[in-house]
């Protein structure tokens, strides 16, 4: 009887050890650039968020934050959620998340500066706390970082085990005049991400047919 109890205990422990759901879950942190003229693109960002809501499963995490003058703060997180394990509850949470985003798109205002690095640091912090198996930072921006006075971001950052996806990287007027500026900008960000330990760097500009590249396949 004692042996049987030990066996059952061992089996339970084994199953509980195997059944760590966090390894299979995804966490996505989406940075939405609201600086300058890019604030007009917030409608597109809402569509991306809807796509993420439709694709993410129970147990996954999603957070949406805006990129402002200084983005390394929790105050910039518009909405965040870890979906319940039960599909019905997860559906309710998705509805609530959607309505929060709708409110955000109505009141989103353009800011003077763009602190993408601060947003990345905040995103990495959030994602590491979720302990998800797959971590992704989605940057909905033109990737043109402009830091305000007194904002210090020229130091090495850590993005270990995080995928970085740059979305809707629009071309600026200067990019149109000299495309090398655009290409250099993207190359610089890729180098920065990879140096920080990011597992992947993906640029998605075709938001109609290439949405599935945002999330890594499970």
């Amino acid at each position: 009887m004692k042996k049987l109890s030990l066996c059952v205990l061992f089996l339970t422990m084994l199953l509980s050890a195997c059944g760590d759901s966090r390894v299979h879950s995804q966490a996505v942190y989406m940075l939405v650039d609201t600086s300058g003229t890019y604030a007009q693109e917030v409608g597109k960002a809402a569509k991306i968020i809807n796509y993420l809501l439709a694709t993410l499963n129970p147990g996954d995490s999603l957070a949406v934050a805006k990129v402002e003058t200084r983005s390394f703060t929790e105050k910039d997180i518009v909405a965040k959620v870890t979906f319940d394990k039960r599909p019905s509850q997860a559906t309710l949470q998705k509805r609530a998340f959607k309505s929060k985003i709708e409110e955000f798109t109505k009141v989103a205002k353009g800011t003077a500066y763009t602190d993408i690095t601060g947003g990345l640091l905040q995103g990495a912090e959030y994602l590491n706390e979720t302990k998800a198996g797959t971590k992704t930072i989605v940057i909905f921006s033109d990737m043109q970082e402009e830091l305000g006075k007194g904002t210090i971001r020229d130091f090495p950052i850590r993005l270990d085990g995080i995928r970085i996806v740059a979305l809707n990287v629009t071309k600026l007027k200067t990019d149109n005049a000299d495309p090398r500026i655009y290409l250099d900008r993207l190359a610089r960000w890729e180098e920065k991400a990879r140096k920080a330990g990011a597992t992947d760097w993906v640029v998605v500009n075709d938001l109609e047919y290439n949405m599935e590249s945002i999330l890594s396949p499970r």
Partner: protein, 486 residues
Amino acid sequence: MIDWHSWLFWPDNVALSVVTLAILVMLFLYAARKPMHGVIHSSCHLVTQSTRFLSRWLFLIAENLRLRNQSVLFSHSQENAAVMIEREFERVGNIIRKDMQDFPALQRKLSEEVTRIEEDYHKCGEVPPPPPEWVDAIESVSNLKSGGDVPRKLLEDIAKSIHKIHDKIVSEYRRAYEDRHKILKGMLPSWRTVGRAVTEIDKKMLTLQSNAKQIDGQMAKFEGMRAKDAKTENALVSSAFVQLAISGLVMVIAMGGAFINYKLIALPMSEMVGASDYISNNLKTSDVAALVIILMEASMGLFLLESLRITQLFPRIASMDDRMRHRLMLAALIFLIILAGIESSLALMRDMLIADKSSLMRDLASVAPATDDGWFARIPMAGQMIMGFVLPFALAFVAIPLESMVYSLRTVLGALLVQTLRGLGFLVRFTGVLFKRFAKVLELIYDIPIVIPVMIEGWVVASRSNPPEIIQAMPEKTPARKGSAS
């Protein structure tokens, strides 16, 4: 790289060196001929003997296995045949119990009918009319000596009376016949009843006869099994192959049903155990839970059929006393109904979850909400619920092909294993025979490079055994010998 020049005795004269080397090698090989032949022969003999031993061992194992298979096959088949015979006897017993208890009543009815018919028959007997009384009067008149008007008048009166009486008698006679016909008409239902009763008995006898024939057939099989004759064994093995194929087919169909069942409850199970829990890398806890539910249903079905004595996979259940077995049957049935209810509700939940998800997707895609199709849209939901309730019971019957498969698989695997062992034994034996012949081939191959010394040896041996004069005389004798032979 090997420098072949080092093998030359005289590097300046390659040909001579090679010839010398060849002669030396030839001499060495010739000197080692007998030991080498011995080595070749011994090695091949060793292989031959080993393979022969191995082959015998394989054949012995195959035979033992065949006997074991035969024993198991006959034992199981005897059990089956005994059950079949028992069932046939039960049927016969039921027929006899059911029909024979009516037999006394039927017999009484028959005897009553027969008595009635007999009585009626007696009533129908033709009674000869009594001799008329006026015959004596005629005799008296005819004895009168003197004629005249008196006798004539008398005779006329008599004639009148006779006519009168004749008419009366004829009418009575007709009435009597009418009465008899009426009696005969009354006998008709009795005849029919008797006829029906006899036909009924005949039918029952025919049923009994067919049952008896089946019992005879089963008994013949049973006797064959007891005698362990090869014909019966072959028939049983063939039957096992057929049984395996049929039960395998049914199991595949059942597995299809189980898969549908699984699909029906896998999604809603995530609502109970969580959608994001994993047991291993690719195995969701909800999927395993759904699988467990299905396996539990199959197990309950198995216990139900076991307790009903339809299958006999667990001897412990079969040997339980009836009250306990009945309780087990009830428990299994209740569990099965509960599981079917759970599955039905899960099917409903599945439909609700899918509807909820599609509504969310429409919201996220900013598409207008779907119009309500009324009761028409609820048909799939009702279908799912019914399937969810019915499939567990259908799955319960898997126990029957499973039992058949288990028993037939044992026989089939045993037969295949015996054939494999025999095949292996044959191959090993064949290899042994090849090696036996191969020894001679190897010896001959060895002799090819030393053919010259061997030929010289042959001549020397021949010259030693035959003196020179005989050798010289031989060519002269040879034709004579040929001639004598012819």
